[in-house]
């Protein structure tokens, strides 16, 4: 490095250190220090995309490049000469320029992109001296503590048993702990038992399914235009069962991508293939089938690449990827796996929703079958009678009376035909009573697949055959070149991505953010792992365990890292790691949309905790549908609210209409489920407050929670308040809290005593029968209190 630059460099080096953590005396690492700079600023024109490559310079891999020339171009004063050009809207910081200079000066070493290198299990060393309790989770803590030490941070103490009961219950089942559970697990010693208890609860599968439904873009309607219903809930139930039965993740993968191609597939294995029928489906009159077939298959490619490989394949649909080494050919070679389904590009708008988009599977429905058998035997008998009539009237020996006979026979025939028409109608109607579920099947002969020029469905280029992306390890030769082979390749030990992406997603679920924060992007533009060795250790352990999901979750939840308190430092402005990347405390964050509602239903005793079945329609603001849906030819033009139990099932069973998803879900950051989504944002808005304060869902829950406080909470105001608090937050209120809450009850009691009519009105909200034995003023006062509890930040947060 020229000496004249030394002074400003020293100053800038400090900046560089604080930004990327590469000490001036520490050797640079291409993946950590250099690739992110090159990728974000240079790859778009000097990267993998050959068609757009400028100056024949390709910076994403080693080559015979004039790198000193490169450094000159990034340092040059003249703006017209400087790289990146101003038209790119990109600018290098001084710190980045220095890093690039150092890198070139040190010989410009390249490394293969980190996530394409097979994960290795680092030695973890003995867990002595750290006071760590649980051996199988100690490795996690060792990796975390090592980084904490590097950053001069100290882990937080353990959270209290009460906090942990609620945290684990919410994380593993999406429901608050019952009073009984709170008591059973009230000690540190009970922790492990508690974890196993919740892992074994059927509500675990329901909760775990939600993130998978986001990834799989699961919904109850087709998504485009008129957005009619579809039937895929049997697949959703399959997912819940798979989590509950702890199906190994490799099997989970294979059955969903290719269950139909397994030898003698079971009914369940065929239902599992609904995964890739979840994409949107267009039924709009006048669309061009080819165009949408291209969309559906592209969606399957992109979803598969995101969910298993953590790669943004959508970028390679129209041209080679700009940042990662995937070609357009790779995209269409992947498409060839998904292009052989006997499907139509257009849904059949005139068909019943259960039969509108083959291939589908009819599920067993014994009662309907019995009805159908009966109808069919009636049809058979009528057909026999008709045949007999024909024989009779054409019998030459009966000539004498033929005229009279003819007349009777014609009348008889007409009557029978009428009956036949009616019976056929009944058969058609009965057939639509049989539930169906969309599935994948394979054409006996593969459809030809072409590279689509600029991604346009009507511009086919070169023909391609099914293949995995060239840059990744090849599938074993014995694997078939179909979806089954693809699925087996995804979960093969040689695949460097699937295990990492998967453990990262589970980590994200429990810790609020992944070790790789961009859980959908493990490419050059994605975030680097905060703890690369830990990620790899988990990935390899996961594979070694036989892709055992519950064991992985158990390992994470048993770690000391997970069990820390989530309290922030007392002066947040002094916090050196405000985003909690190094995990010196447990994460504290808002609960997901589903959990917020389910928690309120559970604490108030309203929750109908029954697994599976068709979708349900709980409360929904009136008028919302009517404004936007097509009234003329859409039987779902009006939201037909369910009754009874349907109002209080868990939120994962709520009807998900893509054009008008449930507004409360949207307010709390659920995705539209139009495309694959790997993580949700967590916003904090006034509309959320309005929802929780005023939605009948929560006003009714408040009344029922109030009822529980009064009926089961003893005789005093304090004891009743404590009871409600405990039901919702799994702890006793602090004296200061209790004081505010009891004062609130007393105020409301007086207030409603003077205004009994308002009390009565408040109690009318919701379909649940009012307990007439309770005094309205008292119930209204506690209802107001319960509403306050349901709106606390702590209620809405996992802590």
């Amino acid at each position: 490095m020229p000496s004249i630059q030394l002074k400003p460099c020293l100053m800038l080096l400090c900046v560089a250190m604080s930004v990327v953590g590469a000490n001036a005396d520490e050797p640079l690492r291409f993946n950590r220090d250099i690739r992110p700079i090159l990728s974000d600023n240079c790859f778009a024109c000097h990267g993998p995309d050959e068609s757009n490559r400028q100056a024949e310079l390709r910076l994403d891999q080693a080559g015979d490049w004039d790198l000193n020339g490169l450094i000159q171009r990034i340092l040059v004063e003249d703006e017209a000469e400087r790289m990146p050009p101003s038209t790119s809207q990109k600018q290098l910081t001084d710190a980045q320029k220095i890093l690039l200079q150092r890198w070139v000066a040190a010989g410009a070493e390249y490394e293969p992109h980190w996530s394409f290198v097979p994960p290795l299990k680092a030695e973890t060393g003995p867990a002595v001296g750290l006071g760590l309790s649980h051996s199988s989770s100690a490795a996690i803590d060792q990796f975390i503590r090592a980084e904490l030490q590097k950053h001069a941070l100290k882990p937080s103490p353990r959270a209290s048993p009460a906090t942990l009961v609620r945290r684990v219950a919410l994380d593993l089942t999406g429901l608050p702990p019952t009073l009984d559970e709170q008591q059973r697990f009230a000690s540190e010693e009970a922790y492990e038992t508690m974890v196993d208890y919740y892992l074994a609860s059927p509500t675990y599968g329901e909760h775990m399914a939600v993130a998978w439904l986001d990834a799989a873009r699961y919904a109850d309607t087709n998504g485009y235009q008129v957005d009619r219903d579809r039937e895929l809930w049997p697949w959703r139930d399959w997912v819940v069962r798979a989590f509950n039965e702890n199906m190994p993740f490799d099997q989970f993968t294979i059955e969903q991508l290719a269950g139909d191609l397994l030898p003698n597939p079971t009914l369940d294995q065929r239902i599992a293939t609904g995964f890739h029928r979840n994409h949107m489906m267009n039924e709009e009159g006048g669309i061009i089938a080819e165009e949408f077939l291209a969309e559906y298959t592209a969606d399957r490619v992109e979803t598969t690449a995101t969910v298993w490989l953590g790669q943004t394949f959508n970028c390679a649909r129209c041209h080679d990827h700009k940042y990662d080494p995937f070609t357009q050919r790779d995209f269409y070679a992947m498409k060839a796996y998904f292009h052989n389904v006997p499907e139509r590009g257009v849904g059949d708008y005139s068909a019943h929703i259960r039969q509108n988009s083959p291939p589908f599977l009819k599920l067993s429905a014994p009662e309907v079958e019995a009805k159908l058998n009966d109808l069919r035997s009636q049809i058979k008998s009528i057909n026999e009678q008709l045949a007999a009539l024909t024989t009779l009237t054409t019998d030459p020996t009966q000539n004498a009376t033929s005229d009279a006979l003819d007349e009777t026979a014609t009348a008889e025939r007409a009557k029978l035909n009428e009956q036949l028409t009616e019976l056929n109608k009944q058969v058609a109607a009965a057939e639509t009573e049989i539930p169906t579920t969309l599935i994948m099947e394979e054409l006996s002969e593969a459809r030809p697949t072409y590279i689509l020029l600029r991604g346009a469905y009507d511009k086919p280029g070169e023909q391609v055959t099914a293949d995995t992306p060239a840059v990744l390890p090849k599938p074993a030769v014995e694997l078939p070149r179909n979806r089954l082979g693809l699925a087996q390749w995804l979960v093969s030990r040689d695949n460097p991505l699937t295990a990492r992406v998967t453990v990262n997603r589970f980590w994200q679920q429990l810790f609020g953010a992944g070790l790789v924060r961009s859980s959908e992007d493990f490419g050059a533009q994605g975030d680097l792992p905060s703890h690369p060795e830990l990620l790899d250790w988990l990935a390899v352990s996961f594979q070694e365990s036989g892709w055992n999901v519950k064991q992985l979750i158990r390992q994470l939840v048993m770690s000391e890292t997970y069990r820390q308190s989530s309290r922030h430092a007392s002066d947040p402005s002094q916090e050196s790691d405000p985003s909690n990347r190094w995990l010196a405390r447990a994460p504290r964050h808002r609960l997901a949309a589903e959990v917020i509602r389910d928690q309120a239903l559970a604490a108030s005793g309203l929750l109908v905790n029954r697994l599976g079945g068709p979708t349900v329609k709980p409360y929904h603001p009136p008028g919302l549908y009517e404004q936007v849906v097509n009234q003329r030819d859409n039987p779902q033009a009006t939201y037909q609210q369910g009754q009874g139990e349907d109002l209080h099932r868990r939120s994962l069973y709520t009807y998900w209409k893509r054009s008008v998803p449930h507004p409360a879900m949207m307010l709390f950051d659920a995705p539209f489920r139009e495309v694959c989504s790997m993580r949700r944002s967590r916003s904090n808005t006034p509309l959320q407050a309005l929802n929780l304060l005023n939605d009948p869902t929560y006003v009714e829950a408040a009344r029922c929670l109030a009822q529980r406080m009064i009926v089961d909470g003893g005789e005093t105001t304090e004891s009743r308040v404590e009871h409600g608090f405990q039901l919702l937050l799994a702890r006793r209120p602090e004296p200061a809290e209790l004081k505010i809450l009891t004062a609130a009850v007393e105020r409301c009691r007086q207030d409603f005593a003077n205004d009994a009519e308002s009390a009565t009105q408040l109690l009318t909200v919701g379909a649940t029968q009012l307990d007439a034995t309770l005094e309205p003023v008292e119930l209204a006062a506690f209802t107001a209190l319960a509403s306050t509890l349901l709106n606390l930040d702590e209620t809405l947060s996992k802590e």
């Binding site: 235009q225 003329r632 859409n634 407050a689 009948p696």
Partner: protein
């Protein structure tokens, strides 16, 4: 998703933001990555005509077609344009001249249809673009493209981008409001999707808030029966007191943000009903906006509400009026649509103008694509239908720095192909952002490793339409 919070530093930023929302003196706190310059428009009112109004009956005057009645559209004109499945089975493509007369209006002499007598009074304020085009040929992809820059769902809508880029001007109201009306006549109303005002991969706080005039203008705004304002205030005080105790214990900045959001919710409970209550508007206003304006939820009522939102500093006000999809019985259907929309649209323009607000309000009127010159189904002089047509359509804009009394672009004699100054929907979006003072190439958001923007990798600011 990227850049979004619950992680402390950005939460703190949001917290600052929410504090700063009221303060226009600190616009730098909304700093998005976008390059900004002096805007000519402070807000947009987008009068979205969903279903694709026919340019031939309204805005693109083609007198020569009268002599072409029932003659086949020359193949040389159609030139390989793909057909929708609705007319691909037709053996003929007979030319259908407009059943309505056109006349010149204003100083500028703009040719406009007799179906738009009220709008025509503002010809000298309008910039009429006759050369819009799109790729999409069906409603859902076309509207999604127009609103999000991409035919398939998943990306943020225009209003969400603006909300993200510029923030709110009024602390008590959302930055982006969407209002939807159904046709009063018996016509085919194409469905709409929440994604059209959704936030896509942007955080959900940027999504459009659906609003309507009348009793419950925003979802969940009204307190439940039995809870009056005093009770609500006291409950919120309790919630805040308990949340503050929690903050003292946990020091999580997200708790402070929550306290502030509950306060804003309370303020919205006061301001929004007042805003949406049109009953205080004088009788002359109802007369001006026409007979439908007294019906809550009508396009006309939404136009009045749009003016009230604009007055209160809402940045992006989007109306959707459904029912323009006239595949058959076009003349009667379009008449009924114009009855719903012409007078109120003009009344809104007039009011904005009189209040001096048209200067910094960009009004956009138009649909997602055009309609074919040839008839779908049976053709008579008085009755015919028109199929979807992506190659050309007309929209108009007014105010906010747009060139008034100007016609941009031209189509051929059949209103089938553009012969001068084509303007893609991406160009429209780029130009509208430009008027708001935003360079469309720099308003970006990192998602899946890529810096996405409203105009994707396309879009040109059309200088010719700027004042």
């Amino acid at each position: 998703m990227h850049h979004e919070p619950s992680l402390a530093p950005s939460s703190r930023r949001n917290w600052l933001k929410s504090l700063a929302i009221a303060s226009l003196t600190a616009p730098q706190l909304f700093a998005s990555p976008a390059k900004q310059f002096a805007p000519t428009a402070r807000r947009i009112i987008w009068l979205t005509q969903a279903g694709a109004p026919s340019q031939l009956e309204l805005l693109d005057y083609k007198p020569g077609l009268v002599s072409q009645f029932d003659k086949d559209l020359p193949d040389s004109v159609r030139a390989g344009q793909r057909l929708t499945g609705m007319t691909s089975g037709q053996t003929r493509f007979p030319v259908a001249p407009s059943a309505f007369r056109f006349q010149q209006h204003g100083q500028c002499g703009m040719w406009l249809s007799e179906l738009l007598p009220h709008t025509a009074k503002y010809a000298d304020d309008i910039c009429l673009i006759r050369s819009m085009h799109t790729e999409a040929i069906n409603h859902d992809p076309a509207m999604t493209l127009l609103q999000t820059g991409h035919q398939i769902g998943g990306r943020p809508s225009f209003g969400a981008w603006v909300s993200y880029g510029l923030g709110a001007e009024n602390a008590d109201l959302p930055a982006f409001v969407a209002m939807i009306s159904r046709p009063s006549g018996p016509t085919n109303a194409q469905p709409l999707h929440e994604r059209m005002w959704g936030s896509g991969f942007l955080p959900s706080k940027y999504q459009g808030v659906r609003m309507s005039s009348g009793k419950d203008p925003v979802l969940y705004l009204a307190d439940p029966p039995g809870i009056n304002k005093t009770r609500r205030r006291l409950m919120l005080d309790d919630i805040a007191a308990l949340n503050r105790l929690k903050f003292d214990d946990y020091h999580d900045p997200e708790i402070q943000a929550r306290i502030e959001q509950y306060e804003m919710a309370f303020r919205m409970q006061a301001t929004v009903p007042e805003l949406a209550d049109l009953s205080q508007e004088p009788a002359r206003i109802y007369e001006r906006y026409g007979p439908e304006s007294s019906k809550p939820g009508s396009y006309a009522a939404n136009c009045i509400l749009a003016r009230r939102l604009a007055e209160r500093g809402v940045r992006f006000i989007q109306l959707y009026h459904r029912g323009w999809d006239q595949h058959g019985n076009l003349p009667s259907g379009i008449k009924s649509q114009c009855y719903d929309t012409d007078q109120p649209t003009a009344a809104l323009l007039g009011e904005l103008k009189e209040r001096g607000m048209l200067e910094d309000t960009l009004v956009i009127w138009g649909g997602e694509f055009g309609r074919t010159v040839y008839s779908q189904g049976t053709l008579t002089r008085e009755d015919y239908g028109r199929d979807h047509h992506p190659r050309c359509f007309s929209v108009w804009m007014a105010g906010g720095g747009i060139k008034p009394g100007y016609v941009h672009g031209e189509t051929d004699d059949f209103s089938y192909n553009i012969v001068r100054d084509p303007m893609h929907t991406h160009d429209l979006n780029a130009t509208a952002l430009h008027l708001l003072g935003i360079d469309h190439t720099t308003l970006t958001y990192r998602f899946q490793g890529r810096d996405y923007r409203l105009t994707d990798v396309h879009g040109q600011v059309v200088q010719k339409v700027l004042a």
